[in-house]
Assembly symmetry: C2
Homo-oligomer: 319 residues x 2
């Protein structure tokens, strides 16, 4: 399973125009084509920059009484990004079936993230305007440096609701694009029904949960840095090439996006005994060969595809 | 196969708020639950009101150099509406697998609709502003009464690109939500690659093409009127209960949305020899029983499920 970051489709500083993201999707897919040609592949993706654009559009829309909530905005980005990745995969792998599905991620209504939301989203406001929006729209707002912003909970993903159909598609030989933006967050309410919630689920933790459920051979978390760094920001920074979950958890890693990536990778390795890796999208093929990225295995060693699960017919990805 | 109109989720005059559309989706799905419990079901849907909202948002977004093109907006609505229908179906049919997929509809790059676009979309402008936007954005604009509007082509749908995977999902017993808004319109370009185009594909014609490809027993086009009317708008208007394709094509039907619905139904009947129906969403179950709607069959007769294809194990829907 390969998890793409939201920046793979929209780099910092780029305009969020469709044409730019279509080009980026084609480039991202080109990096995965060698792997997809040989292995089964589930491709998940982030949506941070894209959901930010749609959230602002929705908040400025005079036709809406209430801006679209985050579950709905997430679903919109699954449609848009799913379409771009679907088309790029079809164009690069003629004859291969590809499916991009809309999917939901179940979180617990009792998750402590709902009572203490910490994930900043959307624009910055001064305190007065932030409090006014909080009163009007039921938002929680918190100071982010000198300014104020909305916060939502980032609950722990428990299960991808459509896991069974993802497995069916994968078993048929199709590539599956899913879990965009971590999946549309839903709870099971007191009627036993699924219900969307205003939350943001970490995309890498969702990819880890899905990879566990699908019994994937490998979880690759692909980003724009070649390795996790030991001593990040110091003069002695050095790349971590191999690690056990326990060893990499002891490292003093920078807060921000690397924390959840390492956590997602470690959980997968601990629960399945299989391999996870964090590295650059462009290095995807080289990572599987054991020559790039930060590779996390139960024993902290990896020599290449020969070291993958021996009873697997395919090195790399499998369900 | 059941084709829902875009108004099933957003009635004329309603605010396009998420909460309203979630309620409408639940009501629409409730009308289909008796059928879905007994039969295989592919559910397609329109996106007219919803894509209009997102197109305006995108056109007003100062962060975009160019508003999102119609293929991308269509994909956004597939995500949003697909999510609402997916969740409503899952909640109403516990234990049944449901899949909402993102999908594309292939049209011909040589379709005459591209050289003579006729489908009005978006806002009205005065002539000067319309011509200015045409120059800036490469739009085609035409007069719509006293005002001017953008027009795009509405090419004929040739094939739903993901037909094979829709069949796979259906064969597994899943309900499939797809072809939203007629599918994201794509052409095959001179490199042999799929490429999105600025066009709007008629959702009912796409549903007909998909129903033909899936070998569906029945195509139901569900809307907010109980029957097709003979002599619409006259004192002698009367409902058409049964018809052959040839007979209903001879009727003088009102222009607008009923024309494509009747055409979509007739093509399905002519090409498959099976039954199509046009009627009210709330009457879906009664239509299959032969007691509601306008029912089109090769011989113009229908007495109920016993008249459906004899070699089919299930009356109603099948692949």
């Amino acid at each position: 399973m390969a998890a793409l970051g939201g920046n793979a489709l929209l780099e910092r500083g780029q305009k969020p125009d469709a044409a730019i993201q279509v080009q980026n999707a084609a480039r991202a897919v080109a990096a995965l084509v060698p792997l997809a040609g040989e292995h089964e592949l589930v491709l998940t993706h982030g949506n941070g920059p894209q959901v930010g654009v749609l959230a602002l559009q929705s908040a400025s829309d005079p036709n809406l009484t209430t801006p679209y909530p985050f579950d709905v905005l997430g679903a919109q980005t699954q449609g848009m990004i799913g379409y771009w990745l679907l088309q790029a995969l079809q164009n690069n792998l003629p004859g291969r079936q590809v499916s991009a599905i809309i999917n939901q991620t179940l979180v617990s209504a009792a998750d402590p993230a709902f009572s203490n939301p910490t994930k900043f989203i959307g624009e910055v406001y001064d305190e007065e305007r932030a409090n006014q929006l909080a009163a009007e729209r039921g938002w929680t707002v918190k100071p982010d440096g000198p300014k104020w912003r909305r916060v939502v909970g980032s609950p722990r993903p428990e299960r991808v609701v459509e896991t069974r159909l993802i497995r069916l598609l994968l078993n048929s030989g199709a590539i599956v694009v899913c879990a965009g933006g971590g999946g549309v967050p839903v709870i099971r309410n007191e009627d036993g029904h699924l219900e969307g919630v205003e939350a943001v689920v970490d995309k890498d933790l969702t990819a880890s949960v899905l990879a566990q459920a699908l019994d994937a051979d490998v979880l690759m978390i692909l980003t724009d840095v070649p390795h996790v760094l030991r001593g990040f920001g110091t003069d002695d920074a050095e790349p971590i090439l191999r690690a056990t979950p326990a060893a990499i958890r002891r490292e003093d890693l920078p807060a921000g996006s690397m924390g959840p990536k390492v956590e997602a990778a470690c959980r997968f390795v601990e629960l399945t005994g299989d391999m996870a890796a964090i590295g650059r999208l462009d290095d995807a093929q080289t990572i599987i060969e054991g020559k790039a990225g930060t590779i996390i295995t139960p024993g902290g060693d990896y020599g290449g595809p020969g070291d993958l699960r021996p009873n697997s017919s395919l090195p790399g990805f499998s369900h």
